[in-house]
Amino acid sequence: MSNFFWDNIFKASSDEIEDIARHWCSSPLFKNIPKRHVRQLAENMHVRHYQAHETVFREGDQGAGTILVLDGEVCIKARNNTLATLESGDFFGEIALAENDKRTADAICTRDSTLVFFLRQDLEEWIETEPRLGAAFLMNLASVLAQRLHQANQLLARGNA
């Protein structure tokens, strides 16, 4: 009975934490960051379960962090155009880690999905205790954002051509 009150039903199991750490380690955001640190970080990440067709966020919502698709499928849409379909291991919404800005597209689950939130709050607290790793992460984040910008520029150029 006491476990019912004191255990966090949202807390990820150790297998799940291992899974989250593995996915993040293979992502460009956590490049060159040792797995044990990513695992420690994963313990405090927020695992959420979404049903099919449930909205994760909408364009104009305020973003609090980046989101990893642990399981399921998420569709990214802007003005009814599908921009991307994301599956297990993909991440999105990373702009919110860098800036207090509004979401620029809709994110909707197309299947029952398990998503992992890595919030700006978590990142700031991590930087306070692990500034070197935090700096490495921020470099990776800058690189990811630059890549996204480059892709957007290419799309624009194609559209104009």
């Binding site: 966090n8 949202f10 807390k11 405090n44 927020h46 959420r48 979404y50 449930e54 909205t55 994760v56 966020f57 909408r58 364009e59 104009g60 919502d61 305020q62 973003g63 609090a64 962090g65 509004k102 939130f117 919030l119 700006r120 709050q121 607290e125 306070e128 205790t129 692990e130 500034p131």
Partner: protein, 359 residues
Amino acid sequence: MPRIRNDGASSAYLETFKVSAVLIALFLASFYLLSSVLLPVIISFTLYALSLPFVNYLVRKDINRSAAIIIMLVIMMSLSIFAISVALPQFLQQAAILKNKLPTMLDQFEAFTGHYSAVLGQTLGIEINTTQILGSLLAQSSSLGKNLLGSITEQLFAITLAMILVPVLTYFILKDFKSLRNKLLNWLPNSSFELGWLIYHRVTRQLEAYTRGVMLQSFIIALVASSGFLIIGLEMPILLGSLTGLLNLIPYVGPLIAMLLSVLVAAAMTPFDVNMIYLAIAVIISAQIVDNTIVIPAFIANVVDLHAVLVIVGIIIFGNLFGAIGVILAIPSLAAIKIIYRNIYADIHNDSRQSGGRT
């Protein structure tokens, strides 16, 4: 000039008002329920905000987090023991002297103002009866001051108990607050999860910055005022300086009370010297100049951005509801309410805009 809003924005305002009203009611109810332990809880959270950077610094130096917290607590307890053994007896002694001298001070102050009003009356050719004007004001101030000073002495036991309770609470807050917070915020529904975290993030950032700024401000003002009182030769300089620093936590009204207190002490000094009153006022004004030109721009400005009328009304309401603690908590509470309101409004307005655009 107010803009004419469309229906979507108006309904968003109404919705935000409803949600905010519920949140404020919950906020006030939790304040009321916690009122018996409010002081140790507030002190513990203040110490948490102050000591967290130091704990994080120790963690960065490869010290285990629990060990870092214990080191921090040992330092804090050593300071508390030092304060109890050295500063508190002197502080209480000065408070007792002030309590005994208060009636004499008020009489002398009344005589002083009576004399000057007579001189002024003769010069201007009109009759000014300051004794009558000040009579009820001074009687009220006297009883308030006596009660305040009396309660400091009487509540020594409560203060000692809080000093034992505070380190224990602070330890657990430093150790477990993050996981407790995560558990609580994870109960938010998916639709409000990010918004809840954003509001939490903004409110805590502002409150932490405000707490650190205000503590530093209080300390600097106490230091400046104590030094000033010591230099001019006013009685009880440390007590008066500390009270000036503490009263500075109450905007607008606090510095005026501090000035009145120092004027009373200066007026009661024997032999009576009118210059001492002017010098005491000069010290308080100097402390306010330091506060407004150096301390506030450097540490507090941009942390809370509240209208002066809102601050005064808030102080009166919180003071009536929760007494002295309410007066001190009024500004951070108002700042938190403002952030919550703005974020909920932004979210609801975005909702109504999106649903309006899609139908």
